[in-house]
């Protein structure tokens, strides 16, 4: 699905850029407090990167900086070879905020049709995206009449319109039942298999198993680790991502 775009992007830059996102020295300040400071990160193209960490660790701020909607105090954020937020990226990058951002007073289909028009995506994408988030039976319901989990899936479906090369999803599975979560992660894997890159935040550590790479943050925007799950488990001797996280936090604390 993404082959054509990827090929074109590579042809333009002359060499394949292995990183979908490249961050150097990112600094974000809110009030007197630095949420991220001197933050570096590379995200591999075609990977599913899980962004894990407690609330207050700067996950959402980092995602907003990648989308280019966050005011930054310093540093560089490059996305698909262009500065984050560039006009050319607006159809190539899709973003789902934690709080669903769709219209409650439109039906599911009307919401998607509008965003498809804005993106210039074909109308066939509307039904495809509704199917992908399993809302086919509710397509003509007003969003306000949906359950919380269904409502957040409308917001997720908007990110599936067009052919985004990078999907940035802030806690897309929160509040969903295990079966549906499983299905969505299967879908993320398919999207990545087509060549797109996904950055997915979560604080459900068992979802880490579905990611190629993990980025672990702790409070204060500190990058604890960026590695594959297998490597993390090996390094820490932990049994799962949660244990690995706790191990890294305690090691960090004992160093201070």
């Amino acid at each position: 699905m993404m082959n054509y775009e990827m090929g074109a992007a590579e042809a333009r830059s002359g060499q394949p850029d292995e990183h979908a996102v490249r961050i150097r020295g990112l600094r974000v300040v809110r009030g007197a407090r630095a949420i991220l400071d001197g933050f570096d990160l590379d995200i591999r193209r075609g990977s599913i990167t899980g962004l894990l960490g407690p609330s207050g660790s700067g996950k959402s701020t980092l995602m907003r900086a990648i989308i280019g909607v966050q005011k930054i105090a310093g540093g560089e954020v490059d996305v698909l070879g262009s500065p984050a937020g560039s006009a050319g990226l607006r159809t190539r990058v899709a973003y789902v905020t934690q709080a669903p951002s769709v219209y409650t007073d439109l039906t599911v289909r009307q919401n998607l049709r509008y965003f498809a028009d804005v993106l210039g995506a074909p109308h066939a994408d509307v039904d495809r995206a509704i199917g992908q988030v399993d809302l086919g039976d509710h397509a003509d319901k007003l969003a306000t009449n949906l359950s919380g989990g269904q409502f957040s899936r409308v917001s997720l479906a908007v990110a599936l319109l067009g052919r985004p090369e990078l999907l940035v999803l802030d806690e897309p599975t929160v509040g969903l039942d295990p079966v549906l979560r499983q299905e969505l992660w299967d879908m993320f894997a398919e999207i990545a298999a087509d060549g797109a890159t996904l950055l997915v935040s979560s604080h459900v550590m068992d979802e880490a198993q579905r990611c190629n790479d993990l980025v672990l943050l702790r409070e204060g925007g500190v990058l604890l680790a960026h590695d594959t799950l297998a490597n993390l488990l090996e390094r820490t001797g932990a049994a799962d991502a949660e244990q690995a996280f706790l191990h890294l936090v305690s090691k960090e604390v004992s160093h201070v």
């Binding site: 909607v69 937020g85 006009a87 607006r90 159809t91 951002s101 009307q110 028009d117 804005v118 908007v158």
Partner: protein
């Protein structure tokens, strides 16, 4: 600017309204009821003829101001505006989409209230009725443009409705409806001269008294205010926030 996105936005806003028939009914019926009430208060006499046209300018302005400021505030607080601006939506696409959608509502509203006034309620208008209706629609658009702009300065709906007494009522007091502008204290006359609603009421008075009214100057000033407010509105839409 992108016509596809502008029209899609206008259609989306109208679709949202369609799902809210009570609001549509109120938008269309309340101005008619108020006009009829006014006619009744003055028993259809000369005072009715004097202030009726001015009120045809004021009602659409107030109502569109309120509806637009709240709708835009909702876009800002729900995250949909941020999402649209992270997509290819231009700031002007967003504002013009709203102006177009509410402009269409305003045309229907002005047609209903205006037709009621000049037919059933027998309002005496010397100039052509279409000029009266055009000024009413311009006024509604003025309300839309002002509402789009001020929504940037409110964080909550409580705050945004306070802009009605702050920015709309002074214009009603100073527009020449209560006291002719020339008879006001000099300072207030000058103040009245920088407020857009004054020109709307001037234009309405002209249509009322003159068979071939020249409303181009007043109309031009209202259009300039609309464009100016929309331009200011674009500066309040930020792609990056903290």
């Amino acid at each position: 600017m992108n016509a596809r996105i502008t029209f899609a936005t206008a259609r989306r806003v109208l679709t949202q309204l369609r799902h809210d028939p009570r609001t549509v009914a109120m938008l269309l019926v309340i101005p008619c009821l108020l006009i009829a009430l006014l006619w009744w208060i003055y028993d259809g006499g000369t005072v009715w003829d004097q202030i009726g046209p001015a009120l045809l300018a004021i009602f659409p302005f107030i109502i569109m101001f309120l509806v637009t400021s709240i709708a835009t505030l909702r876009e800002r607080t729900s995250g949909t505006l941020e999402r649209l601006l992270s997509m290819p939506t231009g700031k002007l696409d967003f504002l013009l989409g709203y102006a177009l959608a509410f402009g269409i509502v305003a045309i229907v509203q002005a047609l209903l209230a205006g037709t009621l006034a000049v037919t059933l309620l027998d309002m005496d208008v010397t100039g052509p009725v279409w000029v009266l209706l055009t000024v009413a629609v311009l006024d509604a658009l003025l309300g839309v443009a002002l509402g789009l702009f001020v929504s940037a300065f409110a964080q909550t709906e409580f705050q945004v409705v306070q802009f009605m007494p702050a920015l709309v009522i002074p214009q009603i007091l100073l527009c020449g409806l209560l006291v002719p502008r020339a008879e006001m204290p000099d300072v207030l006359d000058v103040l009245s001269g920088v407020l857009p609603l004054s020109y709307a009421v001037d234009a309405m008075n002209e249509v009322q008294h003159v068979s071939e009214p020249s409303v181009w100057a007043d109309g031009g000033i209202i259009v300039a205010f609309i464009i100016g407010l929309l331009a200011l509105g674009t500066t309040t839409l930020r792609r990056r926030t903290s």
